[in-house]
Amino acid sequence: MSVAPPALALEHISRNFGPVAALRDASLHVEAGHVHALLGENGAGKTTLMHVAFGMVSADRGVVRMNGAPVTINAPSDAIAAGIGMVHQHFTLVPAMTVAENIALGGRGLLRHGAMVEAVRDIAAATGFALDPDALVETLSVGAQQRVEIAKALARRARVLILDEPTAVLAPAEAEELLRWARRFADAGNAVVLITHKLHEALGVADRVTVLRQGQVVHTGAAAEASVQTLAGAMLGADAPARHETLPPPTRAGNHRRATVASDATAILAAHHVTVHDERGRARLRDASLVVRAGEIVGLAGVEGGGQWELLRALAGRIDVRAGRIERPTQVGFVPEDRHRDAVLLDRSLTDNAALRGAGGRRGRISWRTLRTGTRSLMDEFDVRAPSTETVMRTLSGGNQQKFVLAREMTTLLLRGRDAPSDARAIVIENPTRGLDVRATAEVHARLRAARDDGAAVLVYSSDLDEVLALADRVAVVHAGTVRDVPADRDVIGRAMLGAA
């Protein structure tokens, strides 16, 4: 029996963004019936490679083949027509439309409600997903939205399904369910590309594994023949700093973890029976309480939409609470997840960005000379790589931007006069390393631990449970608007994230 050509083959793909080579002669062969894990650090080119396959990025060089035949893919519509489906990390659903409309989107001709509903029912039956055709997408949970995304791809008869970091937004139990489904889908003769940077996930479900590093394929082979160590080595290259996610599931008492903070240490940040409503009047936090003391890192876990967004901002003084009481110093450093949207002025200089700290309460004249000096020392202290204090924020790499924001929020250099903080320092951070490479991640983690050791109260939320476990002295879980302290145990946290006792 002759060997069938791969369902999807990407051959010798290169792509430059300006002077940066995002992909260098990268090849990937995905067989029908396989789950193929595509591994790599943030920035290694995994998503870019798959965007080439899905027509969202054009390759400078290289060929895409489906079942052996070369195909021209210039736009997502070409990829869809060729039988490729992609579930993006950030969902591409229209929140104000129904499940049926979202699934029908991109078709031609007349739109018949009956046929649309029928199509959704068929997919629900085939996949075992519970899908309500007439539900508005904005009312669905993140897990349910992901199932709509998959249904969308399947409605176009996708035979090759690309899943981009699908488990990042799911609680552990949901993630396992999804991976089991992917396995079944592949076993039925289809192909799945699973983009991830979690090794245990890849080894658990995949038939084959390909590792990208700096845009190049550095390893490809059967999953059965790979180990966590070999893959980690391939992902990081030689002499890379160790990183929590790439190591075996972390032991509970990491050597960097501090001995439990005495429960009589000063509470710096505290929420007492706090209730927060969103702009539509729905309660996002109900009677939530949490204490962060001087000299500890509290790790917060929870699935998206559980109320952590509101809890972090209430504690940082960024939103008002409807009921209950918040205790906090006047100035709380706050590093939000969406840095470009909420933390920086992309088109202004670093000095201008430094001036943002405390801008709301500042009076009178601004001394730019003082601010420039402050910015300079802040850059030196936190190793922010930029030509000068007048460099435009947008031109910095993601890691340097994040370090800059972190520096600004942690430093006392920029605060003078009545805004100067007392000894009580508090930092609230949301997904501190999303989008950063290994080195930057390690640096950010080290900074947070140093601040903790210095006596600051640190509250970290991460959607990556491994990161929470790696950093936290103490863990709390948000679920459906309530908060509770849990032991730092993967399984216990995972269950608490889904609301189980």
Binding site: P76, F91, T92, A96, M97, L105, L110, L111
Partner: protein, 302 residues
């Protein structure tokens, strides 16, 4: 009373027709997440195009010229905003200014500054058989220039198209989440370009209506803010064809009241009637916005 009603209704429809045409076009544009303040310019360019076209080729030529004028403004807008990715609001404002200057300059250059008003051929009313004989409303609604019937038909046609075709679904999706539409294989920029061009053409047609079905001549700056009012009507109509049509009729009625009051001998300062549409718009916008839900991507930089 009924004697006054028919002329009042007729005047309402007459005034509402250009507003509805322009607003329906802008509704399509805004449904793709783009806001074209240059609509006022498109209406004005359409009016001038109608004059130029009508002098050359009669009423039909006039409407062709009107569409061409509006299309030109739409095309410049599409190029600046969709190709160059310039700012929508500034581009739109500049295009309105451009249309004011260009039509004024061309008019004076071609027809002189003497002020002798140039007569353009007009399309008279055409009574729809049977319907026009309905008491009171028949003569008001169905004894109108043909362009009014075009507007009548456009409303249900657009409503059907938006709700019942995949293309309509794509249009609505682009205004909400352009990235989602793109990922679903929809050519977002192409759809937006087509929408902007159609919006320009309909704006031009609105200007053509002013010349060919109403005034019978071109006057400098004769759009007189109708494009801006159409922008407000889109909001009032909540981005729905029937809502937009209703909004246009309400504005038409407000203007028609002026004639009705004058006919009844009520002598209020005429500026109140001139300002009324704008005040009404402001009041209505303040009342409507809380409940209306704009396309999520409206006005966002591309």
């Amino acid at each position: 009373m009924t004697d006054a009603l028919t002329p009042f209704l007729a005047a309402t429809i007459r005034t509402a027709t250009p507003l509805a045409l322009a607003a329906l076009g802008e509704m399509l544009v805004e449904r793709t997440g783009i806001i074209n303040i240059g609509l006022e310019g498109a209406v004005l360019a359409g009016a001038f195009g109608a004059l130029a076209g009508a002098t050359a080729g009669g009423v039909a030529g006039g409407y062709a010229g009107a569409v061409a004028g509006g299309l030109l403004v739409g095309a410049i807008f599409a190029f600046c905003v969709l190709v160059l990715r310039g700012d929508q609001i500034i581009t739109g404002m500049a295009l309105t200014l451009f249309a004011v200057g260009a039509t004024g300059t061309l008019y004076r250059a071609l027809y002189g500054t003497s002020g002798a008003s140039l007569q353009a051929p007009t399309s008279g009313p055409w009574a729809v058989p049977i319907l026009a004989t309905i008491p009171i409303i028949g003569d008001a609604l169905f004894n109108q220039p043909v362009i009014t019937y075009v507007a009548y038909l456009l409303v249900p046609a657009l409503a059907w198209w938006m709700a019942r075709t995949h293309a309509g679904l794509a249009l609505r999706a682009i205004g909400e989440r352009p990235d989602a539409a793109a990922a679903a294989g929809i050519a977002v920029t192409r759809v937006r370009t087509v929408a902007v061009l159609i919006g320009g053409a309909l704006g031009g047609l609105a200007g053509g209506t002013l010349v060919l079905a109403q005034a019978g001549t071109f006057v400098e700056n004769m759009s007189a803010g109708r494009g801006f009012i159409a922008l407000a009507i889109v909001v009032l109509g909540r981005w729905q064809p029937f809502g937009v049509a209703l909004g246009a009729v309400v504005f038409g009625a407000a203007s028609a009241l002026q004639f009705a009051f004058q006919a009844m001998g009520w002598n209020a300062p005429y500026q109140i009637f001139l300002a009324a549409p704008y005040l009404l718009t402001l009041a209505a916008l303040a009342g409507a916005m809380g409940r209306a839900r704009a396309p999520a991507a409206l006005g966002r930089p591309l």
